[in-house]
């Protein structure tokens, strides 16, 4: 399976409220895309549609590596190849850190416990928490928990990683450690879609920045284009509000 993402005519309704208006976006293999925009602009809804955590309107189409994302037998396979990191970590509290990372490879990829453990320890080392493997998530700081969540997603060797505001629930001093792990992932060939309020990260790491407002993509471009020479009034206003403090 390839790892390009093709979003065609994506529409999402919550009752009578339209969260996403006929949105189109193509993301190339290995590309790092940061999605920015005000709260309620539909950023999170957009990336939650990519692995169908949010169902969308039937006329909309999303393909990941050419495979349609739709309910049915294929969905679990697509999801196995698409890692996701949540704002609230969502680690499994009844399992140790190590077990959190081992679970899906064993159950979905049928890895043996030994294989899964070796891989889990390697990933935990990569995100800098090898020392906490036997602890339960509740004993870890927010930043550590989020790094475990990244390791858990990576354990499936995903082609695509979705980050849904991964640092928004963290104390400020822990934001850096999570962003560092994400930076180290960029350019490794995995396609990354990152919903974030961290403009510094977007500017430094993104290949492309998508600015959303009111359920629409207002503007996309390289970080330089978006941050230094935004075309749209709304982009300028938003950036003016978030950058000038």
């Amino acid at each position: 399976m390839g790892s390009n993402i093709q979003i065609t005519n994506l529409r999402k309704q919550f009752g009578s409220f339209t969260a996403l208006h006929e949105l189109n976006l193509e993301i190339a293999e290995g590309e790092v895309v940061c999605v920015i925009g005000p709260s309620g602009s539909g950023k999170s809804t957009l990336i939650r549609c990519i692995n169908l955590l949010e169902p969308f309107e039937p006329q909309s189409k999303i393909h990941v590596g050419g495979v349609p994302v739709e309910a049915g037998r294929n969905l679990e396979k697509v999801r196995a190849d698409v890692g996701m990191v949540f704002q609230s970590f969502n680690l499994f509290p009844h399992l140790t850190v190590l077990r959190n990372v081992m679970l899906a490879p064993m159950r979905v990829r049928h890895a043996t416990p030994a294989q899964a453990e070796a891989r889990a320890r390697e990933l935990l080392a990569r995100v800098g928490i090898e020392g906490q493997a036997e602890k339960y998530p509740g004993k870890l700081s927010g930043g550590q928990q989020q790094r475990v969540a990244i390791a858990r997603a990576l354990a499936m060797d995903p082609k695509v990683m979705l980050f849904d505001e991964p640092t928004s629930a963290l104390d400020p001093e822990m934001v850096g450690e999570v962003l560092d792990v994400m930076k180290s992932l960029a350019g490794t060939g995995v396609t990354m879609v990152v919903v974030t309020h961290e403009m510094g990260f977007a500017r430094q790491v993104a290949d492309r920045v998508v600015f959303m407002d009111g359920g629409r993509i207002i503007e996309t471009g390289t970080p330089t284009q978006i941050f230094d020479h935004p075309h749209e009034e709304r982009t300028r206003n938003f950036l003016g509000a978030v950058l000038n403090h």
């Binding site: 609230s88 899906a104 159950r107």
Partner: protein, 223 residues
Amino acid sequence: MNIFNTFFNVPILIRTFPLLMSGLWITVQIGVVSIVAGLVLGMVLALVRLYAAPWLQIIAKIYINFMRSIPLLVLLIIIYYALPFVGIRLSPFLSAVSALSLVSGAYTAEIFRAGIEAIPKGQFEASAALGLGYRHMMVDVILPQAIRIVIPPLTNNCINVIKDTALASVVAMPDLLKQATQAQALAANPSPLIGAAIIYVAFLWPLVAAVSRLERSYGKEDH
């Protein structure tokens, strides 16, 4: 005749003690079988109630509400005295176990449902995002967490089932209460009844205490 001779007649208590113990053994058998059957039934009902096709969910809901509404004694008497008219003849033991587990299953289903619904949505989403199928999501992620939540109410339900086994005495089951009433008639003295009451309380007190302890310790920690 003083109170001691009437209610705590030691020679009579000693004489009837083996009888009461054999009754307790029957009570425990009915209780354990009903609790286990009720747990299995309740788990299935809870999953059907939450995740099955809509018409199955409705059937499960009707079953649960029906079994929670009908007095256990009425259900037991119907099973034992009415079903033989349509050719279903259950032994006293099976009648008691059926009535108890049919009702316990309904209560257990509601307990499990509440437990599953108490698991944050993020746990379901994280499992789904990892590609876990429904079975692994439930077995590896949701149920282990739900079971921690439901242990205190489940223990409470067990206590109720064991208490309700006393109803089996009306279908001629020689359980603790039945043995006690027979011994009382034989000895023309109510001491065996008091003995049975003491045995029930002594048997269930530790469970009651355990529930309070569990509720307190689960209340303290949080994830």
